[in-house]
């Protein structure tokens, strides 16, 4: 604080509160709407105080009781979780290995490989969507978990962030490990991993949210309702003639919970890692 200006401080808080309302109001209304009876008409506009059906609605969506959803959420939450965790860990694993290779080895094709990985930055999945679906079809991976996750785990961003962290380690670390007779993999596992754990934590948050929020790709790759994700389920709930808003919002609440818990639970590392990853 450079000087004390009461007026300016008051204004700052006012702007921030307005921003907070803007950000939080849609989420608040989601919770409120999820607490009203799904079988009778919603009061208009939706009241600002909760009704009494929140847990009944959550239960209905979770179990799929009464045909509220085509597939019970407790199953497809598992699908979403498996997809998000596989994508996040897959990205981190192959990025860590390639960053380690780039920083600690010299081999033919190193620079070519580096450029190739870097070039994937320019090809987000949405852009090459149909050609990629064609490749997945050719490989017989349509409607499979591998087809769902593998094409999404290449990650230039994670590779670069990990490369940065590895480059910041002192060279003596590797030399000492060498003198002590540790091989490269032992060095990676026993020394590097513990040192860069905050970077890894940040990457997990970023990539988990990325994986959890995939929308277009699962829509194109999955045919089986039993494999579908919660976002797909909400899409189909929205597509029905008369949208049952309380149930949609209950589903949205359940869908939001895992990424929100990950982001808030790991907030400090996430914020640092996100900003570092691009700087």
């Amino acid at each position: 604080m450079i000087e004390n200006r009461k007026g300016l401080d008051g204004l700052s808080h006012l702007v921030l509160i307005a921003g907070m309302v803007l950000v939080a109001f849609p989420l608040y209304l989601m919770l409120i709407t999820a607490s009203y009876d799904a079988n009778s008409a919603l009061p208009t506009p939706v009241p600002l105080l909760p009704g009494g059906h929140f847990f009944a609605n959550l239960g209905q969506v979770l179990t799929g009781e009464g045909g509220a959803v085509s597939w019970p959420f407790w199953k497809i939450l598992g699908n979403s979780l498996a997809m998000a965790v596989s994508i996040a860990l897959g990205k981190m694993l192959i990025s860590l290995l390639s960053a380690f290779a780039i920083v600690y080895f010299r081999f033919p094709l190193r620079n070519a490989g580096f450029v190739l990985i870097f070039a994937t930055l320019m090809l987000p999945v949405e852009v090459r969507i149909f050609p990629t679906v064609a490749v997945i079809t050719d490989l017989g991976m349509i409607n499979s978990f591998a087809g769902l996750t593998l094409p999404l785990i290449a990650s230039a961003t994670s590779t670069f962030l990990l490369r940065q962290s590895l480059l910041s380690l002192p060279r003596e670390l590797a030399e000492a490990a060498r003198v002590d007779g540790a091989g490269p993999l032992r060095f990676l596992w026993d020394i590097v991993l513990p040192v860069i754990r905050t970077t890894l934590a940040a990457l997990f948050v970023i990539n988990f949210v990325y994986g959890w929020n995939q929308y277009l790709w699962p829509l194109l790759v999955l045919r089986d309702a039993s494999l579908s994700t919660t976002l797909m389920a909400i899409k189909s709930m929205m597509g029905e003639g008369a949208v049952k808003w309380p149930l949609v919002m209950a589903g949205a609440t359940l869908t939001l919970l895992p990424p929100l818990l990950v982001v808030l639970g790991m907030q400090r590392w996430f914020v640092k890692g996100l900003v570092d990853s691009e700087k």
């Binding site: 921030l16 208009t44 994937t120 949210v209 869908t255 982001v263 700087k279």
Partner: protein, 294 residues
């Protein structure tokens, strides 16, 4: 380039470690991109059985197609609105959050919530706020005599997807602006304050110029976001309609690709999008150079 670094002598192992990432990149990035490039230069017959080389004809006919050009215009308008609105709101909030001491952690926690929200969920939430007869915003607008129906009104539909897309991106922009503001040395601002510069003056002459690399970086990121990542928002909120008023380039590729009518044209559209992301990524690296690295 990194000769001062330590290198393990096992060269084969190095290649082996890079292999998984390389394989995935080649199979799922290079191959499909190459296929799109190949198909974009070919014309299929009516039955999809054979195709002939037509050079850049598919591209030329796209740029002669008024519907395609209309989509280009919609995409530009949409992206500029999303990027500028998102940057302005986030900058304002970050400057204020950087000033206050009390409750700052609380503000920050609330403001990063949308980061976790899936774009399609963001669309559902805003759709609800604006849904005629139910939502709060449409209700308040009706009180002011404005009749809101984004299912019929193209401008209103565009407003809806712009707001939902911007809302989703506020957290990201806010965190970057806040980090950049916190990196500005306090001594600079103190010196200016002692010289009698008002807070507004200090912002204009010191803070804003120092923020320009971050702002530029965020501008590019937001444009890329608006071009490509907002597919889910548009699909869930308006489905590109009414008419084609919220149809962006990426949405057009998707909806036409699904019908599978014209493979060559779809591929040409994909190639144009790849060139667009490529160009934006290069611009970003060229201008911001070492300050910003992926």
């Amino acid at each position: 380039m990194m000769s001062h670094r330590f290198h393990f002598p096992e060269r084969g192992l190095g290649l082996l470690l890079m292999l998984p990432q390389l394989l995935i990149t080649v199979i799922f990035f290079v191959w499909p991109a190459g296929q799109a490039l190949w198909e974009s230069t070919r014309l299929q017959d009516a039955f999809g059985l054979s195709s002939t080389f037509v050079g850049l004809d598919n591209f030329a006919s796209l740029f002669r197609d008024p519907l395609y050009l209309q989509t280009v215009r919609t995409t530009l308008l949409f992206s500029v609105l999303v990027a500028s609105l998102g940057l302005l709101v986030a900058l304002l909030l970050a400057v204020m959050a950087n000033r206050v001491v009390r409750a700052s952690a609380f503000y920050r926690t609330i403001l990063i919530l949308p980061y976790a929200v899936a774009p399609s969920i963001a669309a559902v939430l805003w759709l609800f706020l604006f849904s005629p007869g139910l939502g709060w915003i449409s209700y308040l607008l009706a009180q002011c005599g404005i009749d809101w129906n984004h299912v019929l009104n193209g401008g209103q539909a565009l407003t809806l997807v712009v707001l939902a897309s911007t809302w989703k991106q506020i957290s990201y922009n806010f965190l970057f602006f806040l980090a950049a503001l916190q990196a500005i040395p306090t001594s600079l601002l103190e010196a200016a304050a002692i010289d009698g510069a008002s807070p507004l003056r200090r912002f204009r002459d010191i803070v804003f110029p120092l923020l320009s690399p971050t702002s530029f970086f965020l501008l590019v990121v937001n444009l890329v976001y608006a071009f490509f990542d907002t597919f889910a928002v548009i699909d869930a909120a308006t489905g590109g309609g009414p008419g084609k008023s919220t149809e962006t380039l990426i949405f057009k590729v998707y909806s036409e690709g699904f019908k599978g009518l014209d493979l060559g044209s779809s591929a040409a559209q994909s190639v144009i999008l790849m060139l667009l992301v490529g160009a934006l990524t290069l611009v970003q690296f060229r201008y911001v150079e070492r300050k910003v690295q992926y």
